[in-house]
């Protein structure tokens, strides 16, 4: 675990995110990677008694950030936004697993939250790939073609016989359904 300056996190994450909204190649992946490293440090420090849940929560939060990326107000700082999502996912996770007691340090300030990074990803307990495999075909195939195989939306539309906008909607809905499954709703 290494420390970084808090404003460093804000400046860095925000510039990557804004570059991604403008379609800059690679910026979004870099944003998610660096956010993931900070989330890992954040959850690890707060879940000292549930270390196995850390990587699950990193992935669940990254998916939530992705699904709700349009909820970020570009005029506001980005770390309080990401922190509120991380904290919501943490509390939600503990509540659903009846482990409110496992929360270490419930009071935290957004400014110092993402100060630390932790790049050592452990294995997640839940396999996102397996959850993806049980989504209905209508959502699964567009996700596989576009997001796993890297095909264009236009190609995917041709392969599946769906319209391009239907492909985009199916991906969006599929990732939301994936988030619901990660929460254990179904």
């Amino acid at each position: 675990m290494e420390a970084a300056k808090p404003d460093g996190a804000e400046t860095r994450l925000r510039s990557l995110f804004m570059a991604a909204t403008h379609g800059e190649a690679g910026a979004y992946r870099q944003f998610l990677t660096e956010l993931g490293d900070r989330l890992r440090a954040y959850f690890r420090r707060r879940l000292v008694r549930l270390p196995d849940a850390v990587e699950d929560l990193v992935q669940e939060t990254l998916l939530a950030v992705h699904n709700q990326r349009h909820s970020y107000d570009p005029t506001a700082p980005i770390t309080p936004w990401a922190h509120a999502i991380a904290r919501y996912k943490l509390v939600d996770h503990l509540r659903r697993h009846g482990r409110g007691d496992a929360l270490n340090d419930p009071l935290d300030e957004a400014c110092e939250v993402f100060a630390a990074v932790d790049t050592e990803a452990a294995e997640a307990r839940r396999d996102v790939g397996k959850l993806l495999a049980v989504l209905p075909d209508r959502q699964r195939l567009p996700i596989i073609h576009v997001k796993v195989e890297g095909r264009s939306v236009a190609d995917t539309a041709q392969i599946t016989g769906m319209s391009e906008s239907a492909v985009k909607v199916a991906i969006h809905r599929g990732l939301k359904a994936l988030a619901a499954r990660l929460r254990g709703e179904r």
């Binding site: 909204t21 993931g36 709700q68 936004w81 997640a124 991906i171």
Partner: protein
């Protein structure tokens, strides 16, 4: 799936995307709810017979300003509560201000009225139906706003549901001013506020169950 592979999956195929969808979604819900409430008020209840005359009185505009200001501030509160990490202050104060104004006006009217008239100022002729009609008129807005919010990212669910409910209540109350014959501030300060609190309570109760994501 390892986290780096998962990140690659999320990032693949993502090109430019518009931030700030939140405002558009909630604005659509607000518009739908307001139109439905106005249409129901005009078509089912009908315009107040004294509307044209009342509209020339400052008291009528004091009555309209309460829900109107609450629609505006309530929309901002709903917007902020749909966005993770957004600060709410100073909106609670801005929402309390129009209520405080009506209550101040009500206090003054009650104090200057003759003793025998005071109860009439509070109850008017329609106190029994007023809060329920406001709650009913707010129902389409409540459904539309909670539906819109469900696709957004509220992190304080009870508060978010309550704010959506209060906004829906203000929409219902605003639509009801077209039909309502009452003008006394003590009436407005009691029954309008109560009517708006019904959907706000429903929203706060449903929030944690409906809005979790």
């Amino acid at each position: 799936m390892r986290t780096d592979a998962f990140i690659a999956l999320l990032a693949t195929g993502e090109h430019a995307f518009p931030p700030n969808e939140t405002r558009r979604r909630l604005a659509v819900a607000l518009g739908v709810g307001l139109l439905a409430a106005l249409a129901a008020s005009v078509s089912l209840l009908g315009l107040s017979a004294s509307l044209a005359r009342d509209a020339q009185l400052p008291l009528f505009w004091a009555k309209v300003s309460l829900p109107l200001l609450l629609v505006m501030t309530g929309f901002l509160a709903t917007l902020r509560l749909s966005r993770p990490g957004a600060r709410l202050a100073p909106l609670p104060l801005a929402m309390a201000a129009p209520v405080a104004f009506i209550w101040g006006l009500a206090g003054q009217q009650i104090l200057t009225a003759e003793a025998g008239q005071r109860l009439l100022l509070v109850l008017g002729n329609t106190w029994l139906v007023c809060p329920w009609i406001i709650a009913l008129l707010s129902l389409p807005a409540l459904c539309a706003l909670l539906w819109a919010m469900k696709g957004l990212a509220p992190t304080r669910l009870r508060l978010a549901g309550g704010a959506a409910g209060l906004l829906a209540g203000a929409i219902g109350a605003l639509a009801y001013t077209l039909h309502c014959p009452e003008l006394a501030a003590p009436f407005i300060g009691t029954w309008y506020v109560l009517g708006m609190l019904i959907p706000a309570t429903v929203g706060a109760l449903l929030g944690p169950r409906l809005l979790a994501w």
